[in-house]
């Protein structure tokens, strides 16, 4: 059950012809899939396309109406391989994942798919997680499209264009027997806009038909001699067919082509930003009508030679606006122009930065340089709308104030309040104090936040599920054991084989900590095999412990309440010090707090409303015993554990405090015990709808305790002044 429910959005998938769809870009894609008559959809969640998977998961009854098969694939490789169904049969299929990480995982299947080619339309929707907010390495999906010859669509980031791209994607794929990749940048995935819907379509050909009349064509299988034929086929047949389709349907767009003798060529995905920048520079209006000719490449690959030459004909210069590196398109244009003997000057990465996101400010700079270079802008006019990174300050400050750089600090993402993964690293810190630092091989998932303050644990991360694999070389007789961390998501994605089985086979002596919180939490809390919640459409409840024992791990420990820091610490210590050889697996099991709160909060409210006895637990700090050392924070970093001004007139350092967002996970108390910190922490149990017994205890308290307290208060009052 995912972090966010799309019950509402799902209704939008039912909209018919002429109705206006309003929503997120990635949901528009989902609607477009239904309008294209897909037979099957598969994928692996991850920002920015998690919502596509989540909305499909919530829409399974609708999918059923159209006989659509929907899979939460085990990995991106699985998803890509799923497209095999479109090789022999005229079945339209779509898969989706985060790129480039997902594309890296999927590339084996993608290469084979592209080699044999497809009969039914095969669409790969990749969420391009590049630039600001990205959590992965900065690479381009473009390279995969080129190496495997998969057509790459990069539509303008507005909903009508995105929806059109999906529909053309299937047609193009079928016309050229080639899989098509639809690239959506992160902002395009999350953009809220609108488009006019069409009716959903039944698949023209069903999975049932395919299974009942199996077709076979060895010519589509990647094995010599067919594979050698495929390579020729790609160039002699599929490429021309694609170029023909793209030209005939005008997938790429020209604006004001003859308006001037300079022009700009831009990837579709960057169009809106460029249009805004040209408008700011006064050569276009807010509707995108530009004095400077534009050639918008909604198809980033292949480059349509004839279109390029037509656009450049009679132009003194063109600017190629292409984000990321290497600058594949620019190089391609260069050879096209050169071979055609065109005199047009090609500019691009010489005016724009080679690497990094093309933010509004960066584009403004580049476009201005280009327009100045070709005298479309007088230098003076250009200076005016320049971005002011540090705004002009009208009056000089009387007393110098600290530079903003020192005042504004980073806010790295961290574990949520009450996150059960936090105590794992608290315990690791405590063991580190006892036994010294260890090499920690991190993985992908929320647990990767351990590399940031306050924990600062983790040396490398080699990819999803590769935490254990990342430490495989670091095995030495009698050496300090390395620690690997792996999430349950990564474990089922590939970690079971790439990490655990590998460690067994190669007689590793290291420890792998498997964080088992019942969901792939970092991607939005989707279910996986080991999820404990019952899922109507998926088979859950398969224990990680069984799996690791199944592949031959002997030393397996399980902590079922990670917030029990002492237990976590002891388990880690044992794993580090036991004479027993062989791979060690420590399963740290506790439910993701985000999901738990989402489930339990409403129930609690109902219970209180219904007059049932409900106990709310939360922690607090006594300001008068807290000495403001903040060790507790250095061992936790919980958002709800903060600081506040010291109420004590004599003390100046701020004291620790627990904010009301505390969910009473218990870590604060466990830490102050395990780390022997200080007696300032208390746990308060607040009882709603108290029973008679509760009231009686309170009364007794009032009688005895109250009396003693009043006496003490009187004594103090005597000396008060």
């Amino acid at each position: 059950m995912a972090e966010r429910s799309f019950a509402e959005e799902v209704q939008k998938l039912k909209l018919g012809a002429g109705e206006r769809f309003r929503g997120e870009g990635i949901l528009a894609v989902t609607k477009a899939l239904l309008e294209s008559g897909v037979s099957y959809v598969a994928g692996y969640q991850g920002a920015p396309i998690s919502h596509l998977m989540d909305v499909l998961a919530d829409a399974q009854d609708i999918l059923a109406e159209y006989g659509i098969r929907f899979e939460n694939s085990a990995s991106e490789a699985t998803a890509a391989a799923t497209l095999a169904a479109s090789v022999n049969y005229p079945l339209r299929g779509a898969v989706t994942f985060k790129s480039t990480v997902g594309t890296n995982v999927a590339s084996d299947a993608l290469a084979n798919l592209a080699s044999g080619g497809v009969t039914g339309g095969a669409l790969i929707v990749v969420g391009e997680d590049y630039g600001e907010g990205s959590s992965i390495m900065q690479e381009r999906s473009h390279a995969f499209a080129m190496k495997s010859q998969i057509w790459l669509l990069d539509p303008r980031p507005n909903l009508p264009s995105i929806v059109a791209a999906v529909k053309h994607g299937f047609e193009l794929s079928e016309a050229s027997h080639t899989p098509v990749m639809l690239q959506l940048r992160i902002r395009a995935c999350h953009v809220h806009g609108e488009f006019v819907a069409a009716d959903n379509r039944m698949p023209a050909y069903t999975l049932k038909e395919a299974l009942e009349q199996p077709r076979r064509d060895t010519g589509r299988i990647v094995l010599p001699p067919a594979s050698f034929v495929h390579e020729q086929e790609k160039i002699t047949e599929r490429w021309p067919a694609a170029v023909d389709y793209i030209e005939r349907h005008g997938l790429n767009e020209c604006f004001n082509a003859e308006g001037d003798d300079i022009g700009v060529i831009v990837q579709g995905g960057l169009y809106n930003q460029l249009a805004r920048v040209l408008e700011r520079l006064g050569v276009a209006d807010v509707y995108g009508a530009s004095r400077i000719p534009l050639y918008v490449m909604n198809v980033a690959y292949p480059v349509i030679e004839r279109e390029v030459l037509r656009f450049c004909a009679g132009k003194r210069a063109v600017l190629m606006v292409e984000e990321g590196q290497p600058n594949f398109i620019e190089q391609n244009l260069a050879s096209i122009l050169r071979q055609a003997g065109a005199a047009t000057v090609l500019q691009g990465k010489d005016l724009l930065p080679m690497a990094g996101e093309y933010s509004a400010a960066v584009l403004l700079e580049g476009a201005r340089k280009f327009l100045e270079r070709w005298q479309r802008l007088p230098a003076a006019a250009a200076a005016k709308p320049a971005p002011r990174v540090i705004p002009l300050q009208p009056i000089q400050p009387l007393q110098p104030i600290q530079p903003l750089g020192d005042l504004v600090q980073g806010r790295p993402p961290g574990f949520c309040t009450g996150c059960p993964e936090r105590p794992i690293f608290t315990a690791m810190k405590l063991v580190e104090r006892e036994l010294g630092a260890r090499h920690v091989s991190a993985d992908i998932g929320c647990h990767l936040f351990s590399i940031l303050p306050p924990f600062n644990l983790g040396n490398t991360t080699m990819g999803y599920g590769l935490g254990a694999a990342g430490a495989s070389a670091l095995n030495v007789e009698g050496g300090r054991r390395a620690i690997s961390v792996m999430g349950d998501g990564g474990f089922w994605h590939n970690g079971l084989t790439s990490g655990i089985a590998n460690a067994v086979f190669n007689r590793s002596d290291n420890l792998t900590v498997i964080v088992d919180n019942s969901y792939t939490s970092a991607t939005g809390g989707q279910d996986i095999l080991s999820s404990t919640a019952a899922n109507p459409t998926r088979d859950t409840g398969h224990a990680i412990e069984d799996a690791v024992r199944g592949v031959g791990v002997k030393w397996v420990r399980k902590v079922t309440r990670t917030v029990d820091v002492a237990a976590m610490r002891d388990a880690l210590r044992e794993a580090m010090t036991t004479p027993e050889r062989g791979p060690k697996v420590l399963i740290a099991q506790s439910e993701c707090m985000l999901n738990r709160q989402r489930r339990e909060k409403p129930l609690q409210r109902q219970a209180v409303a219904a007059g049932r006895r409900v106990v709310r637990e939360r922690f607090g700090v006594d300001a008068d015993t807290c000495t403001g050392d903040h060790s507790c924070i250095r061992l936790s970093g919980c958002p709800s554990l903060s600081i506040k001004p010291n109420p004590d007139a004599l003390r100046t350092d701020p004291v620790a405090t627990v904010l009301d967002s505390c969910v009473g996970c218990g870590l604060c108390g466990e830490v102050s015990h395990a780390a022997v910190l200080c007696p300032s922490f208390y746990k308060a149990r607040i009882v709603s709808n108290p029973t008679r017994w509760d009231r009686w205890r309170q009364t007794l308290r009032g009688l005895v305790i109250g009396r003693l307290q009043r006496a003490a208060a009187r004594r103090r009052a005597r000396h008060a002044f």
Binding site: G133, S135, H192, G414, C416, T625, G628, P654, R716
Partner: protein, 518 residues
């Protein structure tokens, strides 16, 4: 070319703070009232407590239809081209300024002045907070209009979230072409927690209005309770009403007569603390020590700081003190308020304590404590018995009586092992201060301030004492040669990390590292 412009809005928030909700509200507000709305964001992992930006653009639908074309709306803010910036917290407002989104020619900045401290600020061993007034000054200078107040407070009062208060403050600025009713209708359409949201909206609207009146502006200038300000405020002495207790009265007369004016405020607090901690006689000892120092050094600031740090040291947190503070009626009340329990909700309090061998020995009469610490079997037995931490239910009879009894040991405190140790160290420290004061008052002042290192409990306290000892050894070793700046540098180094690496480096840098340390 037509010169119409979309309305450009950037929202800076932290994950889980409802920045998305706010963006959606603005979109719905626009779409319901004749505007084409576009919003986007890069949530990613920022959803997990990180900082993130939501960007919204609004464009009149009628205008687009008249022109017969849809506007091309941007997906990210262009520095210097933003009409409205909403920040859910003060440092985030600063971040907006840093990113160039707030410009004096056009940007209205609406921000909450409360602070959600960044991890670096929280984990510092001393005080790592950045200066609020610095952030405010930058926002003030950069924005065309800066509407701000503590929205967290308003949200809490109305039992809602900051985004609703921000939405109200936004309506109050009248930057958007929509009226209050249209704003409120948007919230109602939202359907979840409508009543609370409307309350928060109203609060935000009123405060937003108020802060825009010129005179009110100055008022809110001071409003952001910069931590130090409040602390200082509470430090100003309430002119002592003539106390009932004659002993106290005598102390107060001596304070007035024998201490420099500027030191009295803190000394008064010190007296209060020590009477509360032990008894008037103990407070007298404190005063004797201060007066003696004042006689040695004619340096009011030195005496003042000594008044502060001597009081803190003399009221060291031993088990007796902790038990005392934990069992007070005022404390029970404070907890009741802190956890927001209603009168009809019983609150049960559990303390997390971990008394070890040292704590027990300290609390025993000195000879007995010394014997136990040095003994064989008994020591091991106690150590075994205290390996686990204890949870004491202070609101239960057993728990309360235990702590109450422990607090009662106060009257024998002077006999405990801990008292002997602390007292000896205090005397040694004061001697160092006085010797230094005769040569160099500034050095003496820095020595006084080294007391800051000695705080906390068990491991933390041990570490603090260790570092304090290292500094004092340095003081003894260098003697007159030691410059105040150097000692300050050493102290800051000791407060920089809890492994003491920084301090060790600093010591060796100044060739003050004792042979013992590697």
């Amino acid at each position: 070319m037509p010169s119409e412009q979309p309305i450009k809005i950037a929202i800076l928030a932290m994950g889980g703070e409802g920045g998305g909700v706010l963006a959606d509200w603005i979109v719905d507000l626009g779409e319901a009232n004749g505007y084409i709305a576009q919003t986007t964001s890069v949530p990613g992992v920022a959803q997990r407590t990180g900082a993130t930006i939501y960007y919204v653009e609004l464009f009149p639908r009628a205008l687009a239809e008249a022109h017969g074309a849809a506007p091309v709306l941007a997906l990210m803010p262009l520095p210097g081209d933003v009409d409205l910036v909403l920040a859910s917290e003060l440092m985030e407002a600063g971040r907006a300024v840093q990113r160039g989104l707030v410009t004096a020619d056009r940007t209205t900045l609406v921000a909450s002045t409360h602070r959600v401290y960044a991890i670096a600020e929280k984990m510092a061993m001393g005080d790592g907070r950045v200066a609020d007034d610095g952030l405010l000054a930058h926002c003030e200078r950069s924005a065309r209009r800066f509407v701000r107040f503590d929205m967290a407070q308003e949200a809490e009062r109305s039992g809602s979230v900051i985004s609703a208060v921000l939405f109200g403050a936004l309506a109050a600025t009248e930057v958007l072409p929509f009226d209050r009713a249209q704003f409120e209708a948007t919230i109602s359409r939202g359907g979840v927690g409508v009543q609370a949201s409307l309350r928060a909206f109203a609060a935000g609207f009123d405060r937003g209005r108020a802060t825009q009146e010129p005179d009110a502006m100055t008022a809110t200038q001071a409003a952001p309770a910069s931590a130090t300000a409040t602390a200082a405020a509470s430090a100003t002495p309430t002119t002592p009403a003539t106390p009932r207790d004659p002993a106290i009265a005598r102390l107060l007369q001596r304070l007035q007569a024998q201490l420099p004016e500027s030191a009295r405020a803190l000394a008064l607090e010190g007296l209060r603390r020590l009477v509360d901690y032990q008894d008037p006689a103990y407070a007298e000892l404190y005063l004797d020590r201060l007066v003696h120092l004042a006689g040695q050094a004619d340096h009011p600031e030195l005496v003042g700081e000594c008044a502060r740090h001597l009081a803190l040291w003399m009221s060291y947190e031993d088990t007796i003190r902790v038990a005392d503070l934990k069992t007070r009626d005022s404390r029970f009340q404070r907890v009741q308020d802190e956890v927001r329990a209603r009168a009809d909700q019983p609150v049960f309090i559990e303390e997390y304590m971990h008394p070890g061998l040292p704590e027990i020995c300290e609390t025993l009469p000195a000879p007995l404590g010394r014997w136990l610490a040095g003994s064989g079997a008994p020591r091991r037995w106690v150590e075994r018995a205290t390996r686990q931490g204890r949870i004491v239910a202070t609101t239960s009879l057993r728990g309360f009586l235990l702590l109450h009894g422990l607090a009662g040991l106060r009257r024998w405190r002077r006999g405990t092992l801990r008292y002997g140790q602390e007292n000896a160290q205090i005397e040694a420290w004061l001697r160092r201060v006085e010797t230094a004061a005769r040569r160099d008052a500034m050095l003496a002042l820095e020595i006084v301030r080294c007391q800051r290192l000695v705080k906390g409990y068990s491991d933390t306290l041990a570490r603090g004492r260790r570092h304090f000892e290292l500094l004092m050894q340095a003081v003894d070793a260098a003697g007159a040669a030691l410059s105040p700046a150097t000692l300050r540098e050493l102290r800051d180094a000791a407060l920089a990390d809890d492994r003491g690496d920084g301090l060790r480096d600093a010591l060796s840098r100044h060739a003050l590292a004792p042979e013992s340390t590697p």
